[in-house]
């Protein structure tokens, strides 16, 4: 197989101007992989700066409620900056140091990857520019505020659908102009090789911890592992811990948006019914080959999800391969199901999953009851939901929240910048 390919998927469809940059990146990444002290440095950094290992929490109340498998939650929400994104970003930060670059750029959708990158840049003393679709800038203003306070420049991207995919394009445009000084911190297991391999490598820390933890807590491997799939980094992160354990079923959950038949979703691999084709078709964009949501000409479609972090046209080439080969089963959760699972999880366990993560909860809740109590399942809680307050309070149509925002708005209208 060609390097950078996973079955039929992957590759590095990169403009010539970046050829050397990628050569260097591949070399530094290979060096890091070959150097055990690098991994140790990474683990130490994540232990002292974030809070790895993150816990594995037994959800007793949810387990009781569904009356089936023991439900365990892997707590990536407890990472510094609130999501698994920190793992990848801090890892790439160490590579940036090795390369001696002085600036990083990144795309962001939900804002989590942007906040994580801005955080890493502050810690590592790097200049930082974050590209973010204008629509997402509107949706995720708190994250923009923090990125700026962390010292990053946030550039609203006004092209295309003004969301994540356009931010990626814009980041590439910056990169082709500034690659000598600048590293592009790709936020998920997508993009041209070696990004999927690199991001997956850093994220495998989730799965390695989880495997140890579930064996210690439950005494045996879990029956199933659930993770939401935007680009696929948290999913690949946890799945890698169980890849060789054939008895562990790996389940990825995509954004079903308003429903798979509505066209307003971001489910690339999940077929509406067993036996049907999924909505995604093979394509090449943003530097790699995978299953994209595109029209018959190859133009990318608009996607929709209540979770900005899942609202993306492509999916990891690694997951496309694992899905094609049957190792990973794909499912989808709709916006409405997600809000329900979120509410249930908050009230039952005192845990607030990110909207993205709540997709994995939906599917786990559907299936937990089918399994016997001796079985365990693990849900990867990729992030915490309190960052999503504007979206969640909006989605719940909370009247006190709306009144609060109106009053604040009126206050600012009266004395702007007071």
């Amino acid at each position: 197989m060609k390097p950078g390919y996973y079955g039929n998927w992957g590759g590095a469809f990169v403009p010539e101007i970046l050829h050397e940059t990628f050569r260097q990146l591949n070399a530094v990444f290979a060096e890091a992989q070959a150097d055990p002290s690098f991994w140790q440095q990474y683990v130490d950094l994540m232990a002292s700066y974030s809070c790895r290992p993150t816990p594995l929490t037994l959800a007793e109340n949810l387990t009781r409620r569904f009356g089936g498998a023991q439900i365990y939650i892997k707590r990536e929400d407890l990472n510094h900056t609130g999501a698994h994104k920190a793992n990848n970003v801090m890892g790439q930060g160490l590579l940036v140091r090795r390369m001696g670059k002085t600036r990083v750029i990144a795309e962001t959708g939900a804002g989590q990857h942007g906040v994580a990158t801005a955080t890493m840049a502050a810690k590592f003393g790097l200049a930082c520019t974050i590209y973010m679709g204008e629509e997402d800038v509107q949706r995720q203003r708190p994250n923009v505020f923090w990125m700026e306070k962390l010292g990053a420049t946030v550039v609203p991207v006004t092209s295309g659908s003004r969301t994540l995919k356009d931010a990626i394009n814009e980041a590439f445009r910056d990169w082709v102009a500034n690659m000598d000084s600048t590293h592009y911190v790709m936020g998920t297991v997508c993009g041209p090789h070696p990004f999927p391999a690199m991001v997956a490598w850093f994220q495998k820390i989730i799965g390695e911890e989880t495997r140890r933890q579930i064996l210690a807590a439950h005494g045996r491997l879990p029956a199933r592992v659930y993770a939401c799939v935007g680009g696929g980094s948290n999913a690949m992160g946890i799945f890698q811990g169980f890849m060789a354990d054939e008895e562990v079923e790996l389940v990825g959950v995509e954004a079903g948006g308003k429903g798979l038949t509505t066209g307003q979703h971001a489910a690339r691999l999940t077929a509406e019914e067993a036996g049907n084709h999924p909505a995604g078709t093979p394509g090449v964009a943003q530097g790699y080959k995978t299953m994209f949501l595109q029209d018959s000409d190859g133009q990318m479609k608009d996607t929709h999800s209540v979770a900005a972090g899942l609202d993306y046209i492509g999916v990891s080439p690694m997951l496309a391969d694992l899905w094609e080969g049957g190792r990973v089963r794909m499912a989808a959760a709709t916006d409405a199901e997600v809000m329900e699972a979120l509410q249930l999880t908050m009230a039952s366990e005192g845990i607030i999953p990110a909207l993205e993560s709540a997709h994995a909860f939906v599917q786990a809740f559907r299936e937990a009851g089918e399994l016997p109590p001796e079985a365990a399942i693990v849900i990867n809680q990729s992030g915490r939901g309190d960052k999503d307050i504007f979206t969640i309070a909006h989605a719940f149509k909370d009247p006190s929240w709306q009144a609060f925002i109106r009053a604040k708005g009126e206050e600012y209208a009266k004395e702007p910048a007071s």
């Binding site: 060609k2 590759g11 590095a12 469809f13 990169v14 403009p15 010539e16 101007i17 970046l18 050829h19 050397e20 940059t21 092209s159 295309g160 995919k165 394009n169 590439f172 445009r173 082709v176 102009a177 500034n178 690659m179 000598d180 078709t281 093979p282 394509g283 090449v284 964009a285 943003q286 530097g287 080959k289 994209f292 595109q294 018959s296 000409d297 190859g298 133009q299 990318m300």
Partner: protein, 254 residues
């Protein structure tokens, strides 16, 4: 005659050739038609027809917007192929397709190239398809005698340039600088050294693009490049002054 031979021949008469660019269906095929007619009349040597794509990563703001508006207005790949056939039929000069790989991939690489050939297209520029990923494409181009135009960049090493040239056809598109299309390039000493390196790496004629917008730019390329590429500048011009302004603009470049 191959495209490369044809270009070399044309260079016997002219110190520098002009290649222009437009985005198909932007602002409309009608305007494209008029712009192309004026370009040919004004003496343009080669025309690059960009088939719009929703994710044009290598393009700057002007061409990016043109791509998107064309798609928003419903431009289809099929129409672009038909329009190309019409143009190659009407005008003598070589026409090229410029687009991103997904347009070919989704159509079927072989089928797309076959259709391009039938439409009279002479070569293609696919900025996101390095030769390592382009085996099927390069093989089919060779079989169909389409020029798979390769791109050099200031960051390309000598070895890399040689390798690219080995896969190339027609001419080499030398990206003048880091960055995307549409912003100014300074043609300084570094640039001269870069073009020297390009020359040493290949026998193919050299086209130089990115940011060329007036006669001074073209003059600076004389004696260095074989082809000056005018991209965003004409799109901007047509947007601001309409298709008719193209004649004078092109005439003034040389």
């Amino acid at each position: 005659m191959t495209l490369a031979q044809e270009i070399k021949q044309a260079r016997q008469d002219r110190e520098i050739l002009l290649m222009t660019h437009l985005v198909l269906g932007y602002p409309s095929f009608e305007v494209n038609r008029e712009v192309i007619a004026r370009m040919v009349e004004a003496g343009v040597d080669i025309i690059e027809l960009q088939i719009p794509f929703s994710e044009p990563v290598a393009d700057g703001p002007v061409i990016l917007r043109a791509n998107q508006e064309a798609i928003d207005r419903g431009v289809k790949v099929r129409q672009c192929l038909e329009f190309a056939a019409e143009m190659t039929d009407r005008h003598r000069i070589p026409f090229l397709f410029m687009t991103y790989y997904n347009i070919l991939f989704k159509y079927g690489v072989e089928a797309f190239l076959q259709k391009s050939k039938e439409s009279g297209i002479r070569g293609l520029i696919i900025p996101d398809l390095p030769p390592e990923e382009g085996e099927e494409y390069l093989t089919a181009c060779r079989r169909l005698e389409l020029a798979p135009i390769q791109i050099f960049a200031p960051t390309s090493t000598e070895a890399r340039m040689k390798k690219l040239a080995g896969h190339g056809g027609g001419f080499i598109y030398c990206v003048a600088r880091r960055g995307v299309t549409g912003t100014q390039t300074s043609f300084d000493q570094d640039f001269d050294r870069y073009i020297d390196r390009c020359r040493r790496a290949t026998e193919f004629p050299l086209a130089v693009g990115f940011g060329i917008s007036n006669r001074r730019d073209v003059d600076l390329l004389r004696g260095k490049a074989d082809i000056a590429v005018i991209g965003s500048a004409t799109i901007r011009l047509v947007e601001a002054q309409g298709a008719a302004a193209v004649s004078e603009f092109i005439a003034g470049l040389r």
